[in-house]
Amino acid sequence: MNAGTLYLGAGFALVLTGLACALLRRNLLRMVLGFSIVDTGVHLIIASIGTLTGRTAPIIDDPALLSDATTLAVDATAVVDPIPQALVLTAIVIGVGVTALMLTYIVRLHDRAGTLDVRELRDLKW
């Protein structure tokens, strides 16, 4: 088993755990907590796709990583894929924004309705 598969499996395990938590719990805060775990798992999955074992991080601070010092070309077999990393970077920051928005709505809902149990929030149900 290579390392990428291990990370992929761990990411999916996190997604499954968080999804079960978000779907089965009835406390809104626990649901958001589940979504937060799903978020972390998805980050792990995306990052694991760019993993290539035995390679270094895509930070070229060492002339040894250059394949040609005059044209500044980099040896493409020495570093891991930078694109999934950039995407995960974006996803983490958006994740915290979305979580904060969900939590503020929950706080507001609690101020109005006095409960966080989805079974008791029936304002839009009939």
């Binding site: 499954l16 109005r112 006095g114």
Partner: protein, 261 residues
């Protein structure tokens, strides 16, 4: 019952997705686009950190959108929890001890300096605008934790936030003007020498702007969420007559069902 069945179906679907991905296997070579970014990245941008090169330059438009999403979510949070008129809260309850306050004041400057260091060196070392912004915001959080009543310089934060967002777009338009594509790097500022602080053209400038913007946005978010707390605590008792429960009244656990609106 249906709830559990639906959950089971969803979980089985996700597990099936895992098996599909497992069958496809993880790649053991870079794709065409990544190969270009890696091989030509230094020559085109002179940024030692290729992730920064992708985030700020090649996929700079994505980052602009991301900053917008963060801005909108913070605005949404501030709108939902907008501040009502304030009541003076008991000063002793909202303030930490003298030692904690002095320690916090002492630590804030180094923490913020470290945040600035992270985002200024974003093109050389791991880190960048988002990480540095988060560190700056954690410095503000320390101040708020030591003294709940502390007023942050809201005017300065708002100016910093909007000015850095505006400058980000101006930098993008400069690329459009000079090199013919939005956020282009070549020709706007000299690229400089690889692995030096003043290199990589507009990349460090944009990452610094992102750092300031993210830092002030996250600090504003923390301020909004913590500030409302003091207000809610002050107003909880006054409001509970009208069917609205104060967030922090003691008997929260054994509320009657009829109490809701």
């Amino acid at each position: 019952m249906t709830r559990k069945v639906v959950t089971l179906i969803a979980l089985v679907a996700v597990a099936g997705l895992f098996l599909v991905l497992l069958r496809l296997g993880t790649p053991n070579e870079l794709g065409t686009v990544s190969r270009h970014y890696v091989e030509r990245g230094i020559a085109e941008n002179r940024a030692a950190n290729l992730v920064t090169s992708v985030v700020v330059n090649y996929r700079g438009l994505d980052t602009l959108g991301e900053v917008t999403v963060l801005f909108l979510s913070v605005t949404g949070a501030a709108f939902v929890l907008r501040r009502r008129e304030r009541k003076p809260v008991d000063a002793r309850a909202s303030r930490a001890s003298e030692i904690v306050q002095t320690g916090a004041r002492l630590l804030v400057a180094p923490i913020m300096l470290f945040g600035v260091y992270i985002f200024v060196h974003g093109h050389l070392t791991p880190g960048g605008g988002f990480q540095g912004g988060a560190v700056v915001a954690s410095g503000v959080l320390l101040l708020l934790l030591a003294d709940r009543e502390r007023e942050l310089p809201h005017g300065l934060m708002a100016w910093l936030e909007s000015l850095s967002g505006f400058a980000f777009i101006v930098a993008g338009l400069a690329g459009l003007w000079v090199a013919g594509s939005f956020l282009a790097n070549r020709g706007v500022l000299p690229l400089g020498e690889w692995n030096r602080l003043l290199s990589a053209g507009i990349i460090p400038v944009i990452y610094t702007l992102i750092g300031l913007k993210v830092g002030s946005e996250l600090a504003a978010l923390l301020d909004v969420m913590m500030r409302g707390e003091a207000v809610a605590a002050g107003h909880g008792a006054a409001r509970s007559g009208g069917g609205r429960r104060g967030g922090r009244t003691r008997g929260g656990k054994n509320r009657k069902k009829g109490g809701r609106r």
